[in-house]
């Protein structure tokens, strides 16, 4: 088993784990994290695809991964901010229910 294959397999496994988390794990933060794990799995696969044993490795997957990370960060941030705002609204709603 070559090095890039190990990374590839791990990447796919990570993707699977993330998928499991996204679908099965109930907590919303964990779901968001699961998405990130999936992303990491895909990035790993990409990087492994660019691995060139014995030569210069392919820079294109690297660039893609860099771009992908930023996108993933952005998505995560948006998700988190939504969670915050929802939590805020729910708390307000709960307060209003509790108040009278």
């Amino acid at each position: 088993m070559t090095q890039d294959l190990i990374y590839s397999v791990c990447g796919i496994a990570l993707f699977g784990i993330g998928l499991y988390g996204l679908i099965i794990v109930p907590h919303i933060l964990q779901k968001i994290l699961a998405v990130n794990i999936m992303g990491v799995g895909v990035f790993m696969l990409l990087v492994a695809a660019g691995h060139n044993p014995g030569g210069v490795s392919d820079p294109v997957p690297h660039a893609m991964v860099l771009t992908g990370i930023v996108v993933a960060v952005a998505g995560t941030a948006l998700a988190l901010s939504l969670v915050c705002r929802i939590g805020e609204l729910q708390r307000d709603g709960a307060d209003e229910e509790a108040a009278p």
Binding site: M38, L45, V60, P61, M64, V71, A74, G75, R85, L89
Partner: protein, 504 residues
Amino acid sequence: MNGLQLQTLLPWLVALPLLAAVATVLLQRLWLCRWLSVALSAAQLALALTVLLLLPEQSDSAARRYALGGWGAPLGIDLYIDGFAALLLATTAAVGFLLSIYSGAYFNEADKAARFWPLWWLLMVALNGIFLAADAFNIYVTLEILGLSAVALVALQGSLPALQAALRYLLVGLLGSLCYLLGVALLYRAYGTLDLAQLALQAQAEPLSWAALGLITVGLLLKTALLPLHFWLPPAHSSAPAPVSAALSGLVVKASFYLLARFWLETLDTAATAGGLQMLGALGAAAVLLGSLQAIRARRLKLLVAYSTVAQLGYLFLLFPLAAPLAAGPGIAGAALDAVAYFIIAHACAKAAMFLAAGNIQRAAGHDDIERLQGIARRLPLSLLAFGVAGASLIGLPPSGGFIAKWLLLDTAIDSGQWWWAAVAIGGGLLAAVYVFRVLNLAFAGSSSTADALRMRRLRLPKTLSVSAFALALMTVLLGFNALWVLDLLDIGAPLSYLAGETP
């Protein structure tokens, strides 16, 4: 028109909305944002139309390709346009133009408006980017812009249901994107290129490409909200602000469908299987029927319209079995694309009109509970007329774009010997009639206390709102007239090119 090269216009289709987005971030004054956006929308429309006009002169596929940075396909990123893409671009620009006008009048709170315009323009960037894309990874990035800006736009509404719907939409979008990206990663691993045209040349029917196609398909299906994966769409589309709903239902879901069509019938056509094509068709048929039934059941007006989107999207998927190379000759495949492209355009206009009308009603009535909307027609005749006209197109009544589309679809279905898809189209039309007229009945219901209550509210609805909704509905009708022009355009560059028996 020698001076004006088609190619040189292509990057502007992305750059223009990008600059507009930046400008609207920087501009503080609301009215400035608004008028600038309307002006730039007009410019975008002019640009798209110019592209459409120039397109027929370009039969050479190289002339419709633009190498960004001058590097060329495998290394750099290309933009590519053909008839299909150009039509979708024009549709986006046209619908976008009217939606911009509408939005200008719709968003009157400073905070919402200040966010709306940049997000709106970034959505345009993504749409144009996707229609022009010729690179698999580039598509991923544009898909993400599309997804994130759409989510942000849904969240603009700020209500709890809207935020929850947005969050779900976001997670679904991310899941879909990641599936897609995994597929792209597998493709890159197998063929070492990201360019769609080169992939099309190199791809073979082997496990890796099958897996990639499967993952890409599922990812895009999720984003397109085909029936079993449609669960996120109704809440998201129905709780967003009206122009956002309109854009989401009219344009955004079409983008991922466009990609699906490209991948199945062009880029990875060698890996596409007959069973897969038929399955997509079957899912589409199920979507048509079940989505319509849900729309009939819906209690809220906007939910009804959203479910109608689920149903209408089902029609698009009939493209796959009808264009299946095994089923019929190349002529039929081209006809199937004609039909579906027309569906996309007609539905874009019609659905946008419907959502705008529904938004007007919601704004005027303060709610969109269908049962309580009796007599609304007296207050919002034009909006309801727009709704009705657009609904007629959804049903497939002539003269409207929807009719032409349905006609072409039936024609193709019967021609290719797959009459059962024709039955689906007809049944869907009838079900659509049921839910459309459920709403229109309100128009004629006698004035009730609600009507008086509305009068009490004294909320003056800006004229722009109803007029732009009606303009969209009118566009739907106009599409029902000369379809020839549109269809001629569609054949340029033989989209889904293998259909015409040539490879790019």
